[in-house]
């Protein structure tokens, strides 16, 4: 039971895009996202002897999400707010720029678990059961949390737009 290096790289090829999209909507910083992804893979590589290839992808997701949470906690603690890579998101007009800002504020106001459910459902290609296992929530609540998160997000976006 040890993860081979090519399995690790295979996992990276599969998950880099989905991980990046989920983490970017939490950290809003390109380099931080890639740091977190690399850090997750390096940690797993360091203890590859005890890692099962069958559960490698799930472990990557869990590790990366935990690292992102730690980074957000660190930012809150030190009141550190990195500049957002606004240009990274396709911004073709001032409206798009403001929409990105609004989205960021609204996503931040969602409960952490609901936000994770929403982002994982959108980008991870994981099934409800797998998302539930990752976030350690009952499987039956994944769909309802996603639905609630989407509804709340729409309300928050309207509120932010009105403000």
């Amino acid at each position: 039971m040890a993860a081979r290096e090519d399995a690790l790289y295979g996992s990276y090829r599969r998950l880099e895009g989905p991980l990046y999209n989920v983490l970017y909507r939490q950290l809003w910083h390109r380099e931080d996202c890639q740091d977190v992804i690399h850090d997750a893979y390096m940690r797993i590589w360091a203890r590859r002897d005890s890692v099962d290839e069958e559960t490698l992808d799930a472990l990557v997701w869990t590790t990366a999400l935990n690292l992102a949470r730690n980074r957000l906690r660190w930012r809150r603690l030190w009141r550190h707010e990195p500049l957002v890579d606004e240009n990274h998101v396709t911004v073709s007009s001032e409206d798009d720029f403001l929409a990105t800002r609004r989205l960021r504020v609204a996503l931040r106001q969602l409960p952490a678990t609901s936000r994770d459910v929403l982002l994982l459902s959108e980008f991870s290609e994981l099934r409800g059961r797998e998302i539930a296992a990752l976030l350690r929530i009952p499987e039956g609540t994944v769909a309802s949390r996603k639905h609630q998160a989407m509804a709340r997000l729409k309300v928050l976006l309207e509120d932010v737009a009105d403000a």
Partner: protein, 122 residues
């Protein structure tokens, strides 16, 4: 088609991520080459610090021991001779008559108990 495609568009991660990860793993796999220079420097710094500490000890410890021994001897002598000397009684201390060389001059070494305690404490 994702439900929130317009709100959350798909972003491309920065290019070259896999290559950078492979480089990091390669560096971690051969740490001896990476850190050999650093570890040599660290060893020399540690050895130098140890030598300096030893030299300081060799220079200072005998002096300190001698000083403490003298203080202890004086304190012990004073405690022994705490009885009145030639009719002179020192409260909270003691006196030792020292040879003066002149018949009409008397010389005493006087030390109070408080001083002795302080010296002992040191």
């Amino acid at each position: 088609m994702r439900e929130l495609e317009t709100l959350l568009p798909l972003l491309e991660p920065p290019p070259g991520g896999l290559a950078r990860l492979q480089q990091k793993i390669a560096k971690r796999r051969h740490p001896s080459e990476q850190v050999s220079g650093r570890s040599h420097r660290r060893t020399w710094n540690t050895a130098l610090a140890a030598m300096v500490a030893t030299a300081i000890c060799v220079a200072l410890v005998p002096h300190w021991v001698l000083q403490r021994r003298q203080t202890a001897m004086i304190a012990a002598a004073l405690r022994r001779d705490v009885l009145p000397v030639n009719g002179i009684r020192v409260l909270n201390g003691a006196a030792i008559e020292l040879p003066s060389g002149q018949p009409d001059v008397r010389l005493y070494l006087v030390q109070s108990v408080a001083d002795t305690h302080q010296n002992d404490m040191k």
